[in-house]
Amino acid sequence: MSYNPFSLQGKKVLVTGAGSGIGRAIAVAASKMGASIVMVDISKEGLEQTGALLDHPEYQHQQYVVDLTDSEAIGALVESLDGLDGLVNNAGIPNTRPLQMIREEDFDRVVGLNTKAPVLLTNLLYKKKKLNKGASIVFTSSLAGLYTFTPANGLYSLSKSALTSYAKSCAVEFAARGIRSNCVNPSMVNTHLKDSLSFSEEEYQKDIEKYPLRRYAEPEEVANAVIFLLSDAASYITGHTLLVDGGRSLK
């Protein structure tokens, strides 16, 4: 094959939240780049739809229906896995309550999936030596909590800024096994999550004006950034926060 440092040929990559949106796009793109994919999601239906879209079916991509807020289920998942070259912690949920309306259960649900789950999964995979030497870990964080602080997004921002910092801690500790850890920080992406945000059409239009590129991202555009970080093309990049924001942070 011709020279291609971005190839994922021969790599096994786990993607959480693979049943929809960005996670689905990551799974599809990684399969096209030659990886075999371990898809994890709470939605069986979502996983099946993603599974049907993957390239190289002969690699026998795997699907696991797991509620990542259930730490026992994470334990069982880790037990059944082996030899990962890539780990993409992507599953996440939004929350649009103003601060004064945040209940304990909101905190537990949002931080539980967006922050606690990736921390538990990653630590356990490392501890149980399920990540190969030289593996690459990528987190789907967000521009929120880093550059953009918008009303009624405080809980989400908090969960994602904690994740951004955890990605750097992983880079420091897991370097002992040559494992890299980075995050991608997208601004708005055209997915279910975006559609659930209860903006009016007018508000979306106003928001888009804050983007130099004058549009939101497509999930595939985030996926390509993740592919880069998973690949050997990024072999000296660790602890990095890669903005995928159409220039939003510049305005």
Partner: protein
């Protein structure tokens, strides 16, 4: 569901509006301080107090307090 309690819950989502200023006929979106944040507060209030999940458009489409009350009431689980 009582209008009196609903108005009490609704007025809490405003800073400058007095309880007496809200009646079923009030066009609550005409208050100066009304914003998209108010909409999100009202959505959270409806969930907390009545177990009803409103969409932002439900709030936008309601003209008066009565309209909003009717929307919430029609969605309360039996």
């Amino acid at each position: 569901m009582e209008m009196k309690d609903f108005i009490k819950n609704l007025v809490e989502q405003f800073d400058e509006v007095e309880l007496e200023a809200l009646t079923p006929e009030t066009k609550f979106k005409e208050f100066d301080e009304f914003s998209s944040l108010t909409i999100l507060s009202i959505i959270a209030m409806a969930d907390d107090e009545y177990g009803v999940r409103l969409k932002a458009d439900d709030v936008r489409q309601a003209e008066t307090v009565q309209d909003l009350f009717d929307t919430v009431q029609s969605r309360i689980q039996g």
